[in-house]
Symmetry: C2
Subunit: 326 residues, 2 copies
């Protein structure tokens, strides 16, 4: 019997992250090699020509699973009956823009998208926010979609998670697949806390293999500032690695995480680990049957507590700046 | 038992096609989800910083199959023991450059690469030329690698093949996977002949469903000029669709074509279909056990013969322009 197609919406669809994401999505990478897809691609009016070029290239791949491509600059149209949404587009910081202005400009966008998702999307929609400031954008979208569950929204810290795995693997000279139980706590920003205190290298604790000095002076700053380092070297911001992380995030969410590991996702806090304010905070999670669960009751030492609180504080400040738009 | 890694070389590795290709390759898309890969990435010296940024992003994906990344501007180093080579980089046409100059400039590059592949690559290497003029670049590389079999070289017309499938599917309003037996004959240039005379739509001949006028006035010119149309719309040349076609080409070559279909690849002519000069000409091929076979004895009507000869003539002229470098 033919499998019913899934409608997938991608915003900022003519941008570099989406360009790296869409072709892997259409090839069946995320949702399965027998799952037909209907793509809804949203852009701002100025980018519609460019987006049409992207749609031409998607067509030119003759993907067997890609049943339709709908390009639009109308948000309402973009989210009609969608089951999987990648919110990639966001307003970048322009010259002279204060941090608060940037938060507000994006809050306006994600408020509108949240409302329209609430009204038009499939009732089982999963929404992944990639556009920055991702955590707070996810909060805004979620708060403006009262008919959906808050657990249908998440923001991406999987790129940070993968970067931390790669950095630790390189330092220890082990293959990355030997590492388990990495955690990114908090905000997808430079305050994020990449935590290896539960990490295992094979059967051994990673913490026994590194110095505290390396952790705080090398590992953490390198992870926190990796985005800027890529821009400096490549002359453009991370696109393919961000797209990969977004695809992985959605695949784990839809298809489940491995039995013996977890991943990092920013989700609405349920009060775990003392994060009792209403923010999207990155936690270790497992996924099963299309639902995530925050991993509970991990021990938190004083070193970790301090960093977990700093990034929490930043998220609460971001929340304060945009809460008039809830 | 651990699977032995395969070494894969990509040239022009900091360019847009490679950027769309490398991450799918590293995710296991082409060579299999249990096949470890060692990547050798070649660029010109001026692009090494950019390439380092790409390598950072590849690292940041924490691909379990990606065992190593070696970036280099030394051709000899790039092809050492490589089993799979994507020759993506080529010299683009600059202002005031004649077609003959372009052919020669690229012939110099591909002569050097052919010689080094001959000397340093694994004896079972498969070489796919993507950089234009792809057919003649493949010929030059092949002619400069006398210790390898000519059947270890091919050039890409899979993008044209996919574009033709997509265009026909759209015209007939059928899903693309219902079409079989498309053929691209000849050169990956505007003289290519996209031939639907053996195409089937389900069990019916495609030719019975289209007019000859549509074929020669719409279908063929649209296919032949699709690259330019994408540039005009997207503001950049086809990258992700070209990368997809390159990955598919290599996957078919390594893993085999479906039982009930063929694909198009430019390979050294064996005299089939009256193409008896020494050129890389796109034919319908099937692949099995890592070897391609030209599909023989298809009927060729007068309409087809004319177009097949035109594109053959262009390839013979290209050959003439560069044969001093054999």
């Amino acid at each position: 019997m033919a499998v019913k197609p899934i409608r997938v919406t991608v915003t900022g669809a003519a941008g570099n992250i989406s360009y790296a994401l869409l072709f892997r999505l259409a090839s069946g990478h995320v949702l399965g090699t027998d799952q037909p897809i209907e793509l809804n691609l949203l852009e701002i009016p100025q980018a519609m020509g460019n987006l049409e070029g992207v749609a031409m290239e998607l067509t030119d791949c003759a993907f067997p699973l890609l049943q339709s491509i709908n390009i639009t600059d109308q948000t309402g149209n973009a989210f009609q009956d969608t089951s999987v949404a990648f919110l990639v587009g966001s307003r970048p910081r322009s010259a002279g823009m204060e941090r608060k202005d940037l938060l507000e400009a994006n809050a306006q966008i994600f408020r509108q998208q949240g409302r329209i998702i609430n009204e038009h999307a499939s009732r089982d929609v999963k929404v992944l926010v990639v556009g920055n400031p991702a955590n707070t954008n996810a909060l805004i979208a979620c708060k403006n979609a009262p008919d959906l569950k808050a657990t249908q929204f998440s923001a991406m810290t999987m790129l940070d998670h993968n970067r931390a795995l790669a950095k630790l693997a390189s330092h220890l000279s082990v293959p990355v697949h030997q590492l388990k139980h990495m955690i990114i706590w908090g905000n997808h920003s430079s305050t994020q806390y990449p935590d290896i205190s539960h990490c295992q290298v094979g059967d051994e604790p990673a913490l026994s293999k590194v110095s505290e000095q390396w952790l705080s002076e090398r590992f953490m700053p390198v992870c926190q500032k990796r985005g800027a380092a890529v821009i400096q070297m490549r002359g453009a911001s991370s696109a393919a690695s961000a797209a990969h992380a977004a695809l992985e995030h959605m695949r784990y969410w839809v298809c489940g995480t491995p039995e013996d590991d977890w991943v990092s996702m920013a989700v609405l806090s349920d009060g775990s680990y003392g994060i009792d304010g209403e923010v999207f905070y990155s936690f270790p999670v497992t996924c099963k049957n299309g639902e995530y669960s925050i991993v509970k009751n991990l021990s938190v030492n004083d070193f970790s507590r301090n960093y977990m609180d700093q990034t929490y504080k930043e998220l609460m400040e971001e929340r304060e700046a945009v809460k008039s738009l809830f």
